[in-house]
Point group: C2
Chain length 695, copies 2
Amino acid sequence: MSAEKTERQLAVATIADLLDGRWAQRRRHTRDLCTDLDLVSLPGQPYPEHRARVLTSLQKLADLGEVQRAFPAALGGADDPGGNIAGFEELIVADPSLQIKAGVQWGLFGAAVLHLGTEHNHTEFLPDIMSLAVPGAFAMTETGHGSDVASIATTATYDPDAQEFVIHTPYRAAWKDYLGNAALHGTAAVVFAQLITRGVNHGVHAFYVPIRDASAERDDSGAHPMLPGVTSQDDGHKGGLNGIDNGRLAFDHVRVPRTNMLDRYGSVAVDGEYSSPIASPGRRFFTMLSTLVQGRVSLDGASTGVAKMALAIAWRYAEERRQFTGADPEVETVLADYGTHRRRLLPLLARTYAAQFLHNDLLERFHGIFSGEHDTDEDRQDLETLAAAAKPLSTWLALETLQTAREACGGQGFLSENRLVGLRADWDVYATFEGDNTVLLQLVGKRLLTDYGRSTAKMDVAGQARWVAERAGDMALHRTPLRRASQSIRDWGSRARSAEELRDPAVQRELLEDRVETMVEEIALRMRPSLKGTAAERAAAFDADQAELVEAARAHGELLRWESFTAALAEVRDPDTAKVLRWLRDLFALTTIEKNLAWYLVNGRLSAQRARTVTSYVERLLLRLRPHALELVEAFGYGPEHLRAEIATGVEAERQAEAMAYVRRQRATGEAPISEKHLPAVTDGSTGPKVAQPV
Amino acid sequence: MSAEKTERQLAVATIADLLDGRWAQRRRHTRDLCTDLDLVSLPGQPYPEHRARVLTSLQKLADLGEVQRAFPAALGGADDPGGNIAGFEELIVADPSLQIKAGVQWGLFGAAVLHLGTEHNHTEFLPDIMSLAVPGAFAMTETGHGSDVASIATTATYDPDAQEFVIHTPYRAAWKDYLGNAALHGTAAVVFAQLITRGVNHGVHAFYVPIRDASAERDDSGAHPMLPGVTSQDDGHKGGLNGIDNGRLAFDHVRVPRTNMLDRYGSVAVDGEYSSPIASPGRRFFTMLSTLVQGRVSLDGASTGVAKMALAIAWRYAEERRQFTGADPEVETVLADYGTHRRRLLPLLARTYAAQFLHNDLLERFHGIFSGEHDTDEDRQDLETLAAAAKPLSTWLALETLQTAREACGGQGFLSENRLVGLRADWDVYATFEGDNTVLLQLVGKRLLTDYGRSTAKMDVAGQARWVAERAGDMALHRTPLRRASQSIRDWGSRARSAEELRDPAVQRELLEDRVETMVEEIALRMRPSLKGTAAERAAAFDADQAELVEAARAHGELLRWESFTAALAEVRDPDTAKVLRWLRDLFALTTIEKNLAWYLVNGRLSAQRARTVTSYVERLLLRLRPHALELVEAFGYGPEHLRAEIATGVEAERQAEAMAYVRRQRATGEAPISEKHLPAVTDGSTGPKVAQPV
């Protein structure tokens, strides 16, 4: 380690508390629990064995009472939704397959019973779910319908004579697909289906459906036999998460009792009469789906967590690994001292901090709603939008960080013993499950457009006309800087003064906020004329703006991250620590602006001169942060025992020390050979001569 | 498939010929060979079995005479370096592990003997290498030294009494690492070591070293016992390419005969006297390394190939998969008709075409040199620079395309049966092996700086001073558009006229070329003052510009791609095909410019108004290319039998057809339930009422 460059001056414990947030204790408890060798992944283990192993680990978690905190205290839970998620997120330390299998069991299968069912459902089904006596699948997605849940084709038709629902899969595209626990271990499933009674389709509802006969012997693969009418097909090997037995399910007129319907938001009386506390089918559908937001919330936290792990591994290695000599011809340079290396890793470090602070805010909100502390329709909508913005950004952040970290560690990064590739493989699917990232950002974009529509709708007609004329009638506004006069003066001033200004949080906020607002406004204005067009014209106009709408949603998410980071800064008392964290926040803001520099230039928000300042200030921040980066990753709280990466144990520093000692010893004893380069050249050049011999 | 949108009008065979290039026949032959079930990967196969399987496949290739074309005809080869590489690249169709294991055996181990050895080495070693009687490792990289080959620490010390070299690993960091065939199958290795004779270190040379006793029984893992003094350690499970037994090797004073030195560029006489046809140790080192350029050339081609496979899979699925309804509420929209989907995939299609055309040019050059047709020092340097620019760009393109394709296929993309995730996992390491991508781009950047230095060095002193004053003394040049007057007029003209101009190849070339030249010039000017500073100042100045130098090298690579694409266009006669390929070339140019839009704006090369035109022209091109995209991926020549991806077989179209037929049948028979949404609402809203019943 280059002691002269790496300083120890930050209040690491304070930063760790800030990062770990309200449920820090549960996070740390679970992290440590995950060092249990019964729970951790074994790289290269064949997937049938990995699946069996994860099932055993899951049982251990259940037996230890680690995974039931979200459930009602009356049934042995703790009524602690926030603490439950915080702990759940940390299970990745052991094995992401373990986390996701736990998520399938308690976060999806169990949570569906909890949130979509009523007391009789809870009493009947939850105890066995909580104890893992009944492993179950969450059967929502179909081969033919993923993100478009409203269009699933499985049906649940009520038969009043038998007082049963008939669950049926009408064609191949309607098979339930990608379901954890479906290929082998599940003995029941919560099945989402179009509820049909008295000839009317009341839309998607959920039903508790036994799928395997738990009383019969398991076969070699660990599966009980299927119940009559239920077919299962193994999804087989996957890109990652191979500790989970994903599979498909099809139902051929499978009957379940009327009371197996999860009936909080809709129920069918004995005679087949449908009733619901929510009259609008659309609102009812979205309310039901909104209860499942915890999946997205927890993936956001887990993704931020894995980005932290990747940075902890890669930066530790960057501080120890040496390659090529620099100013000193005798000592090779550590990777952390290379500009390209800092450029690759430190902006991701800043973004990961920002993502963690946003996640902490998201989790607090989630807890507020699901604990019932403040649970209104508006709260739920806000939470959904927030989760829909956070989850895509953090899952992509995780993938980018894992990949960058892996490349930054070279060949070492490719070995499974250094953990990065396994985590990367597991993380792959996070970008498309629990809502495809692009589709989620489109939802956020639509919400931004709706909010924008509402705010303009409040103006009177004259005001609106004036407002539209000012904005849409002439693009000049967007072509000139908002504050042109002052900026052009600043631009010709010193770079220091410009950098000074970019450090101002108010300036950062304005730049980030302005971009979201302007993009949304422009899309709204472009779409307006087409609203009077044909369906095809409307669809074409809507489609044409989707890429930009997704971009606006992403910008919105980055703004939220910035706000959470900035709010967190206010809690740091130690001045050195506060200063370094401010640099890190600035780095996040400036690299976000830099990434979108073209937008700021095209839209006249930054002059060319000031745009150059953005990059030079970023470079300055990277240099300033360099000596503190090790402490900043240490504050994540993942030690070698959690990371389980050979290169994050100090082994590289030992190897370097051994090599240097060898060279020193050789020199001291005079045993080192002379380099040919240091001999006087006595050669005639190109015709195959002998080269100089030592004199 | 949406027949109304997908047109069949391109001369697909012509495009295929253009893409497959000079060795089209060998490419197609190998592709078809790779449908042999003995050769193909089996997803989820445990890695010990996968390793054994790939060894068997390798033997089959050797027995078929498929992999020896690069070797001398006298020894049973074909003296056909270009055709050999073209075929080799296509082995990925079967299994990238098979390709890379073949690459280790014949492209590294065998090629080192061929290119670094002389006739006695060839006669002695090549026949067994070619037949795979001796599987071998290419022992260059050490745990402590990857890209910095000159600093490896393994020594080969000549002992004149015994007429032997003593190969020795002085410490742990000097263990050879990541070597294919080292963990199990290799019975020999070409070991790179510092050659020491008569007390002088003559730098890195290569030695043929037996490592396992092939005459003794294999153990359970398939390995013969190690020879005395040689230690092997398994690298274990990896992020991909698990059909290859990568491992480490250490040597404890292992002796080999003097004649085991590969002595083309340096030899040691019986008495220990060193001689070399190249006097300068630096030039000698680089000449030796330059013979290994074929690794980078072939990875460039293989990476372009895998990007083609990924696009063929994802676009086929995009044409069949439907999700959400659009203008027509009865028919769901195919993914290919979504703007976001086109934005994700079509720019990658354009870049992949460009990369393939550049690769074809690269391979022609490679063949010219290694067949001896035109082999000068300058040719070799150019080839090295070209390969160093192409390989990073195409390996990253492959990773980005595989990942984008996988996400674009949603959950299907994550299943191994659809191939993308397995290829992605295998491809991971391509970004850092055969030269870390970032380090390679730094080499390209240095070459650009050198060339720039040479061109300025030719000026006389007065000219140079004037030139520097013009450029460095005032940044005003870079702040104003190069052709400001004309552009500002155009900017206020119609968008159509601007788009017209961006279509002009001369304008595209200027924009791409100008960026490379200006970036290099700016870096050179910034570095100049520091050249007079201390070593530390020089190192700091150099380091400060590395990120930008890498960016300049990348821009250089994109320019080369554009030039190859444009040159290839000239060969297309069919006017419709030429038109569509021109759109594709334009899309490549414009998305490249769009990615770097900030640079063009900051440096005054594009006005804000014209910058907006770039994006709107891109959008127009995406719409135009949409109907032709299927034919453009079909021209890659990878059919379902090569892709082995379930979703690229038409199965999704069948499922969609079945679902639509079901719905139509239900409607026709009047069996379809009425949707609750279509009933008159008779409800009092929020207090839990019954909803409407059918009348």
